[in-house]
């Protein structure tokens, strides 16, 4: 069973595609894939903006991203179309939202709050949420001023690819949750729970929290929640809006994986989730695939040949063992890819062979782009 082919150029050229989101688990080459797709689209004449999350230093430099200023900068020397690139600064993006929605004094009170600082710099889902916020900002910016035909988004290096989809909602529902409501304004927080239950639970909660964290912490939380609430009204609503932009008809997801069990399992979860949420999946990019030269010389024949040399011709014996290793690696990867395709027979796949060296310049990105687009 072979998977349908993911035609990268058809995807990049499609005027109906305005956003490409690259997702996958950590260490599979998402950033490189996003940058390579963006560069290729620009060379093919589109006006592209790429939002990278945490690019390797030299790759960032090669795209002119020498400072983290949280706005797209034109990459010089691209022929065909235009390419702008930016790196996400999650804390700054969060700060900007606060500043944009509030007067200076109130904004300062929030920015100084230790809970806000923790939330904006270290909360596990903030980076994912801010990536989506930034995408929203870029889309708005594209509609009103600087226009981009295509925005390519890299996603944060989380362990699980689903974090990107779940974190904003988790953050939203947390900030908008019952506990926060109760803390912020006990009088109107009752909801479906009876006042007695609320009070009993709240007493238990504040008791426990004071014991564990100390009373000062609780006061900081209350202050944080009240000012945040005044600022955003409903955080959940905002998170939902941000989330729903991923369901826009011009959005496509590209799931990136390496031919390893963990990465493909995550990819499979993600594909199922995209289907469930009716988010359009363009296909799977399978990176770092072992290239096979001379498939007709099987691993078994090569190994038997090396054995037969019994200490003679050490050079050839080693080359035969290397060939056998490559064949076995390739066979294992093919098997893993087949399992994925067995579960998701309609998901188009593009494979990229493993390169000897890391990609850290535009030439390298061009090469990856060529490999991605190969039939």
């Amino acid at each position: 069973m072979s998977a349908p082919h993911l035609s990268i150029d058809a995807l990049l050229d499609d005027p109906g595609v305005g956003v490409i989101v690259c997702c996958g688990s950590g260490g599979v080459g998402k950033t490189t894939t996003a940058a390579a797709l963006a560069l290729r689209a620009a060379r093919r004449g589109r006006n592209v903006c790429v939002l990278t999350i945490d690019p390797a230093r030299r790759l960032a430099q090669s795209m002119g991203l020498t400072e983290l200023d949280n706005t797209p900068r034109l990459v010089p020397g691209i022929e065909g179309g235009r390419l702008s690139a930016m790196m996400l600064d999650m804390k700054r993006t969060f700060d900007e939202i606060v500043l944009a929605h509030s007067d200076a004094d109130r904004a300062q009170a929030i920015l100084d709050n230790p809970f806000y600082q923790a939330l904006s710099s270290s909360f596990a889902g903030t980076q994912e949420y801010m990536a989506m916020e930034k995408l929203g900002q870029l889309k708005a910016q594209s509609a009103t001023g600087e226009h981009w035909d295509l925005i390519v988004v890299d996603t944060p290096p989380s362990r699980s690819a689903l974090d990107f989809l779940d974190a904003p909602k988790r953050l939203g529902s947390f900030l908008d949750g019952r506990l926060i409501r109760v803390l912020a304004a006990p009088a109107r927080g009752a909801g479906r729970m009876s006042a007695r239950v609320i009070n009993a639970s709240l007493g238990l909660f504040t008791g426990a929290m004071s014991k564990i964290l100390g009373g000062q912490v609780l006061r900081d939380v209350q202050l944080f929640v009240t000012s945040f609430d005044a600022l955003f009204g409903g955080f959940r609503e905002r998170a939902e809006q941000t989330y729903s932009q991923l369901q826009a008809p011009d959005t496509r997801f590209v799931v990136v994986a390496a031919p390893e069990p963990d990465a493909l399992r995550e990819a499979s979860y993600f594909v199922q989730r995209l289907e469930a949420e009716q988010m359009p999946l363009a296909g799977l990019v399978l990176n770092r695939v072992q290239q096979v030269r001379l498939p007709e010389l099987t691993a078994a024949t090569a190994r038997a040949g090396a054995e037969r040399l019994a200490g003679e011709h050490s050079l050839v014996a080693e080359l035969l063992r290397l060939h056998a290793d490559r064949m076995e690696t390739a066979a294992r990867q093919t098997h893993l890819a087949r399992s994925f395709t067995g579960a998701h027979p309609r998901v188009p796949v593009a494979t990229v062979i493993a390169l000897a060296d890391d990609v850290h310049d535009l030439d390298g990105l061009t090469e990856v782009g060529d490999l991605l687009a190969q039939d």
């Binding site: 390797a56 362990r159 238990l204 426990a208 929290m209 030269r293 010389l297």
Partner: protein, 333 residues
């Protein structure tokens, strides 16, 4: 093959924290390390803190519950137990242990308080996870019968490890006094001591090596105890330096290739020769990259341990062979 000949001395280390860039195989390495440490009849606890059940998958068992379960045995009666630490359960356990709050757990959960404490209160989640590790290390110490000879933690990736381990600094920004603060301080007592070693797993590739070097600098600046750099998926080469140089420039002696192939019973046709030469060139480029990256790592002064790339993938047999590779390099030291 070891650039650094300084054999690691971990005789006093009880807590092994294994971190590394995503995709470098740190869960595999943590499991192999646990197996290596369990040899000789030792009892080792393998902790997972990122809720992915990666350990269960590696050891080919159903998802593990929040309790210490036996997952593997090692020679002479050694045993590896595994525990996926869930912050919520750790918090409830903590509340029960220190405050006798037992039945409140459900109400707290319903109200979102558990969510709150484990997700937003900065450092609380981390202190619960590291706290579980330090509790396992200290368990039984007072009666001179430690529950575990060693605890191995499959920790968060390099980018987050310093913040994760430096819990009391995180907590300090939030709680100047109070029980969580003293709990954090006592956890730090274990983490900063000679009882702990932080190991970083890397591949011999540019980005993981850079991240490892950055991670080492961060950990050192934070005063956290470093263990070894564990190189994973290293490609071994039997070729001599001269052969590698010829391979790199596709100038291997064609006559020798032909006669060698013939002796091996393989017809040395042009496509076969071309493929051998191409593969040899790939291999030489790979080895050269590995050598230069290994040199960059050696400059950091930490012991380097090296694990081979397994072309057949990682299964239980492979884990044991990786554990043997660690033992061969002087572990447990």
């Amino acid at each position: 093959m070891n650039v650094s000949k300084r054999a690691p001395n971990w005789s006093r280390v009880r807590l092994h924290v294994v971190s590394g860039k995503g995709g470098t195989g740190k869960t595999t390495v943590a499991a192999a390390l646990a197996l290596a440490l369990a040899k000789g009849g030792k009892k080792v606890l393998l902790l997972e803190v990122e809720g992915r059940q990666g350990i269960a998958q590696l050891f080919d068992t159903p998802p593990l519950p929040y309790q210490e379960s036996k997952v593997a045995v090692a020679e002479d009666g050694g045993v590896v137990y595994a525990l996926p630490v869930d912050p919520e359960d750790a918090l409830l356990e903590y509340l029960e242990m220190f405050y006798g709050i037992k039945r409140g757990g459900y109400a707290l959960r319903k109200l979102g308080a558990i969510d709150f404490a484990t997700t937003i209160a900065p450092g609380v989640r981390d202190v619960l996870l590291t706290g579980k590790a330090s509790e396992a290390v200290k368990r039984g110490e007072k009666i001179n019968r430690p529950a575990y000879d060693a605890v191995v933690m499959d920790a968060p990736p390099t980018g987050r490890i310093t913040r994760f381990l430096n819990v009391n600094t995180e907590i300090a920004g939030l709680a100047k006094v109070g029980p969580i603060r003293s709990h954090a301080d006592s956890v730090m007592g274990v983490i900063r001591s000679a009882r702990t070693a932080v190991h970083l797993v890397t591949l011999l590739e540019e980005m993981p090596v850079q991240e490892t070097l950055d991670g080492i600098a961060d950990l050192q600046a934070a005063g956290l105890p470093l263990g070894a750099v564990i190189i994973n998926q290293s490609r071994h080469s039997e070729l001599s330096a001269q052969e590698l140089a010829m391979a790199a420039t596709s100038s291997l002696p064609a006559d020798e290739l032909r006669s060698g192939l013939r002796a091996a019973g393989i017809d040395p046709t042009e496509p076969v020769l071309a493929a051998m030469i191409d593969e040899a060139a790939d291999h030489a480029a790979r080895v050269a990259l590995q050598d230069s990256e290994r040199e960059r790592l050696a400059a950091c002064g930490l012991p380097l341990l090296e694990l081979p790339l397994l072309s057949g993938g990682v299964d239980l047999a492979a884990l044991y062979s990786l554990a043997d590779a660690l033992t061969d390099q002087g572990l447990p030291g």
